[in-house]
Structure formats: structure tokens, C-alpha cells
């Protein structure tokens, strides 16, 4: 994708990228190198802008530290905000040992925080002192990467914006001359402008915007690549997390992982349901099962998991509602033995109260689990529980992130959604557009009993049955049966269904008896008629014999007459 800016420069950028691929410096930040097609522009400056607390420092630090640890590129940090000791402490909580990197001369941290109140602007100046300092630090450890963390606040206190602009341009050129892969962070400017001086994004080769919204205690972080000179890049807003493992851009995958949709079908473990879906759901697709409490959502999900484990696939079952032991026990009561799969190491049940963690931490833990366990099938039971963290409308955003994370790994997923009242199905509708197939389960009460119905509401990319099925929870799991419809078009389930079946059986019996009776009558009649036919045939034979005899007599007499006539004529002539 090319950023849709003015077409001419986009075309030039594209042409440049085709002529020679832009060298890139991988950041090692999970997910980022995927959306940026390999990392930041090598040997060039990148601007990372965002309001305070959006994660700019975390992004910059991870770029620097992973550069040292994973890519063997020593780095220098100039921080204008934090003290070194605060920074060392903060980064330790993400598992980075800054002190050892400093000791090994792979990292230099230069904390240059100055109180703005101590600075008095008295006239024109340049930043020669800063350049000296940068030069020295870079030479000392042979740095390839450099981070300047919010330098603009200090520069603003120097007073002369025109000089600052000129010196910033010189600084960015200086990075290029020395082939330093640089990250410069900036607080967003006021009145909606991206940067304080309004041109930093112009002189940067790459500009990244970070955003952090907290709405009713749900935090949502987003990252967008605003520009990337000479390179393709994703233009979407990507959600990201700051987890105990650091910065994670979702869907947290490398560029190579974006694969074509699979044509392979995955069985739901219920033959008749597979038939309704013309063979099962696609691998990597998302199946939504919604319904009220006690409609059997978990059972259908467990059945699918059971089938997957039978095929030797790994499954992750995330249960927000039940503990592992309760889930296993409940499923055993309907004949689904999950314990065997847990024992075999194919099934991992992750049971937690969603309220025990923030949403961001939940997603971070999910990402980690997907990476470490590597499941082919994942169940989220039930997503509505996530909403305990905040208002219902946030489910969609969260589930969207979860689905992204699962899809990008080609994981077939089942999401169950608990609905309480009928209008709540609209919340499921909001999420359903993100999913590929959608089953709705409904309990109906009729004649004083409850029956379960299953509808296939949609199934993307495949023909599927529009019919409703009744399903039963038997000691062998869930079982689908065709529904009965009485002559008035009413669906008959449960004992009404049984009564109707009995009625049909009685009618059939009666008919069979009637047929048998008729057959006997027919046989008798046939015998009588056949006897009559035999008599008539005899009569007919006798009659025809008599007639033939009579005819012969007539012929003989006629001949005799002719002889007599001839004789008498001879006599007269003589």
C-alpha cells in the first residue's frame, strides 16, 4: 500500500522503492516491523509524535535496546525528560538490564533534564554544545542508533523559534550524514498540529503518530505511520499494547505472516452442523456463537475443541466464566472428555476473571499465550465478560483486536457471546460483522418445557443451510436433529415433537393395516375372476367347435348341389 498523499510524490516514492529497496533497521518491536515492511529507515531520522503518556519513550527505548540486544547495534539515548535512574528502573520492569548494557559499553544514557525556569533566552545562539555532546557519545561506543526523547520542550525555552527550526534541520541532516538510525520523539503540538514547530515531520524520513484514549477506564492505544519516504507501509491505525514484554503492535505479526485465506474446512465435531455449513468452517475463520444463558454455547465450543484435539491440533480454551475444573466437570456430564486432552498437552484451559486484569493486560497475556502455546484453535468463552471492564460498546473494539490477533496467526476461533435480553442480540450483531460464521442458539418454551434450537445466521464464503435445527445435549455431547413442523408451520420440539412423531406412527400403522386388508380382498377377487375366466374359455372353445362343424356341413352340401346341377343340364342338351 502506498500512502494516499499527493500522487506525484507518492509515485516518486514508489519509483524509488522499486529502484532499490530502502535499507531498513528492524526495531524488534513486536508487530511493528510487520506493518512497516521491515522497520525504520536505516541511517535516517524518524519522528515519533504523540501526546504525553502515549508510549513514545517506550517505543524509542525498545527500538534502541532491541537494537543492541538483537541486532548488535550500540545505541545512545539523550533524554530531556527523565533521570537515568528513573529510566533504568522503568525499563527493568520490562525485563531490560540497562546497567549491564552501559557497563558493556553498548549503551550511553545522557539525561539532560533542565528546568525551563532556569533558562533565560537572551539572543541568538546555536546548538554546537549539543552536537559536540552527540559526537562524543556516538564515537565512544560506535553507536548506530540514537534516540532523542522530547528535545523540543527544552528547545522551546531557548526562545528563538527560527533558530530552533534551523538547528533542528541541521540536526536531522547530521543524523543522515553519520548514517545514524535516529528516533526523535515529540509531544504533539497544540491546536491539532502534529509537532511543536510544525515541520519536524517534513524533515523526517518516517513519521509515526501514537495515540492513547482512555474512555471509562478502558485504555485504547493506536499507532499510525503517517509517512515513510520511499517505502510501502500500512496506513491503518493499528492498536498497540504496552505489556510486561514491552510495546506490541497488533496484530503482532511479522510481514511474512500475512497469508491467503485457507480453503481448508475444519469440522465442528458435529456431523450435521458440518453439513449445514457445507463441510465445516474455514481454517482461520471466526465462529460466533451467541445465545442466552444455558443455551449450550460452551458445549458446542467444547465439542469443536474435542474434535480438533482428536485430529491432534492444539487448542486454547479461554474461560472467563468457569474454572478449569468446573468446565471439565460440566463437559464430562455431556460426554465430552476434555481432561484427556489437557493431559495429552493438546488443550490449555486459561480460566480467569476478566476483571482481574485491565483490558490491555488481558490482550497482552493473550498475545503471549498465542505465541508460547501456538494453538490452531482458540475459544473465547464468553466475550461479554470482557464488558465487565466497561461499557458494552467497548466489547467490539476489544473483540476486534482479539480477532485480529487470532486471524493473523491463522487460528480458527470460536467466540461465545452471552445475551441476556432480546435487545442484547444487537450487541452481538455489532461484533458479528467481524466474524465469519454466526450461530444463534435459542431456548424455546412450549407446553411447559424447554427445547434448544440452533440457527445458522451467516457463514461467509460458503453455502449454508437456512434451516433451523433442534439440538439435544446427550451423554455423547450435542446432537443435531431435524426439526418437526406441524401443518400450521409451528416448530415442534421436545415432547410436542414426540407426540407428533407418535401421531405419525399411528397413522402409518393404520395405513399399513388397510393396505394389508385390501391386498387380501384383491387376492380373493382375483381368484374368483380367474375361475370365471376358465369356465368362459371352455364355453368359448365348445361353441367354436360346433360352429366349425356346421360350416363344414354347409360347404359339403353346396358341392353336392353343384354336381347335381351339372348333371341335369347335360341331360337337357342331349
Amino acid at each position: 500500500m502506498v500512502k494516499p498523499k499527493d500522487t506525484q510524490s507518492a509515485a516518486l516514492d514508489l519509483a524509488a522503492s522499486l529502484v532499490r529497496p530502502l535499507p531498513k533497521a528492524p526495531t524488534g518491536i513486536r508487530g511493528f516491523d510487520g506493518i512497516s515492511a521491515g522497520g525504520l529507515p536505516r541511517g535516517r531520522p524518524t519522528l515519533v509524535a504523540g501526546a504525553s503518556g502515549t508510549g513514545k519513550t517506550m517505543f524509542a527505548m525498545e527500538f534502541l535496546l532491541r537494537g543492541i540486544q538483537d541486532f548488535n547495534e550500540p545505541g545512545v539515548l539523550f533524554t530531556f525528560e527523565e533521570s537515568s535512574s528513573d529510566l533504568i528502573e522503568n525499563m527493568a520492569s520490562f525485563g531490560f538490564d540497562l546497567e549491564s548494557l552501559i557497563t558493556k559499553e553498548l549503551l550511553i544514557i545522557d539525561a539532560l533534564h533542565v528546568e525551563a525556569s532556569e533558562i533565560v533566552a537572551t539572543g541568538s545562539f546555536d546548538l554546537e554544545g549539543l552536537f559536540l555532546r552527540l559526537e562524543k557519545a556516538i564515537e565512544t561506543i560506535g553507536a548506530k542508533r540514537i534516540v532523542l526523547d522530547t528535545i523540543e520542550v527544552m528547545l522551546a525555552s531557548f526562545g528563538n523559534d527560527q533558530i530552533v527550526r534551523g538547528e533542528l534541520s541541521r540536526l536531522f541532516r547530521w543524523f543522515k550524514e553519520r548514517k545514524l538510525t535516529a528516533v526523535v520523539t515529540e509531544e504533539r503540538g497544540r491546536e491539532g498540529s502534529l509537532t511543536r514547530y510544525g515541520f519536524e515531520e517534513v524533515i523526517s524520513d518516517c513519521a509515526i503518530l501514537l495515540d492513547h484514549r482512555v474512555h471509562e477506564e478502558i485504555s485504547t492505544r493506536r499507532l499510525r505511520i503517517l509517512k515513510y519516504r520511499g517505502s510501502e507501509h500500512g496506513t491503518n491505525e493499528y492498536p498497540f499494547l504496552i505489556t510486561d514484554r514491552g510495546f506490541v503492535v497488533l496484530p503482532a505479526m511479522g510481514a511474512e505472516a500475512i497469508t491467503a485465506a485457507s480453503d481448508e474446512r475444519v469440522s465442528t465435531g458435529m456431523e450435521k452442523l458440518d453439513k449445514m455449513l457445507s463441510g465445516g468452517i474455514f481454517r482461520g475463520a471466526t465462529l460466533l456463537i451467541s445465545g442466552r444463558a444455558g443455551t449450550g454455547k460452551t458445549t458446542i465450543a467444547a465439542q469443536l475443541v474435542d474434535a480438533a484435539c482428536r485430529r491432534g491440533e492444539r487448542c486454547l480454551f479461554i474461560s472467563f466464566e468457569e474454572s478449569q475444573s468446573r468446565l471439565i466437570r460440566n463437559m464430562r456430564s455431556v460426554g465430552i472428555n476434555l481432561q484427556q486432552w489437557v493431559d495429552a498437552g493438546l488443550l490449555k484451559i486459561w480460566a480467569e476473571r476478566s476483571t482481574a486484569y485491565g483490558l490491555e493486560e488481558h490482550l497482552g497475556r493473550l498475545d503471549r499465550m498465542l505465541e508460547e502455546f501456538g494453538p490452531q484453535v482458540t475459544v473465547l468463552d464468553a466475550m461479554r465478560s470482557l464488558a465487565e471492564l466497561g461499557p458494552v460498546r467497548n466489547i467490539r473494539a476489544t473483540v476486534a483486536m482479539e480477532i485480529d490477533m487470532l486471524k493473523s496467526r491463522q487460528i480458527t476461533s470460536v467466540i461465545t457471546s452471552l445475551t441476556h435480553r432480546s435487545e442484547d442480540e444487537s450487541s452481538a450483531v455489532g461484533v458479528s460483522s467481524l466474524t465469519d460464521s454466526w450461530l444463534v442458539l435459542r431456548n424455546i418454551e412450549m407446553n411447559g418445557e424447554r427445547s434448544r434450537l440452533l440457527f445458522v445466521i451467516k457463514s461467509r464464503g460458503m453455502p449454508h443451510s437456512n434451516q433451523v435445527r433442534e439440538f439435544k445435549l446427550t451423554s455423547n455431547g450435542a446432537e443435531l436433529i431435524e426439526v418437526m413442523i406441524d401443518p400450521r408451520g409451528t416448530i415442534l420440539t421436545g415432547s410436542a415433537r414426540k407426540l407428533q412423531l407418535d401421531r405419525f406412527a399411528r397413522i402409518a400403522n393404520n395405513r399399513r393395516a388397510a393396505i394389508r386388508r385390501n391386498q387380501v380382498v384383491l387376492q380373493r377377487r382375483t381368484a374368483v375372476l380367474q375361475a370365471e375366466i376358465a369356465v368362459l374359455e371352455n364355453e368359448m372353445e365348445a361353441a367354436s367347435a360346433d360352429l366349425e362343424k356346421a360350416n363344414e356341413e354347409q360347404v359339403r352340401r353346396q358341392a353336392a348341389l353343384a354336381v347335381d346341377q351339372a348333371a341335369s343340364e347335360q341331360i337337357r342338351e342331349v
Partner: protein, 101 residues
Amino acid sequence: MHLIGEPIHWVLTLYVNGASPRSSAALANIRKICDHELAGRVDLKVVDIRTDPEAAIRDKILAIPTLVKHQPAPIRYLVGDLANEARVRTALEIISVVDQP
């Protein structure tokens, strides 16, 4: 800020970059003040970052020229060529001294 009658002494360091126009202007501007109002009550040290870059690094000086007022407290960094005389005097707290009887 200062007790009347307290002997006030200024300790200043000016960081310059050789004889660049800005550095020369800053030096001339501060010399003028030191030679008049502050005569006899000031230690002015001039550091040239061309000959002594380590000093600028050690003292965390980023903008050149910068005049640091170490004494009297509080510390102040006067960034620029000291062309704005009113600001320089205020920052150096010279006005309060002149106002003293």
C-alpha cells in the same frame, strides 16, 4: 532576595565557540556589564568549546553561547548572545543591587 548589606559576589561562566560572531557579541556584552556595575564583585570565566570541548560536555551546555550564573543563587542559564540587555540584567539580578543605597 539578598539581605541589605550582604556582600554579593557574582560567579559567571560564559561558554563560547571560538570567535564566532555570536560568541564575540556575547563576550562583549557581558564584559561591558562586568566592567561597570559588577566591577570588583565578579569572577567571569570564559570557556571556549573549541579548545576545551570536554568542559561543555561535563557542564551539559547545549546552546552556544550560554552564560551560567552560579552565584548568586539560584543558578540561571542565559542562552544566546546576551543582546537583550534588560533580560540579562534581570536574570543576573543586577537591578536589585543598583537599587541598594
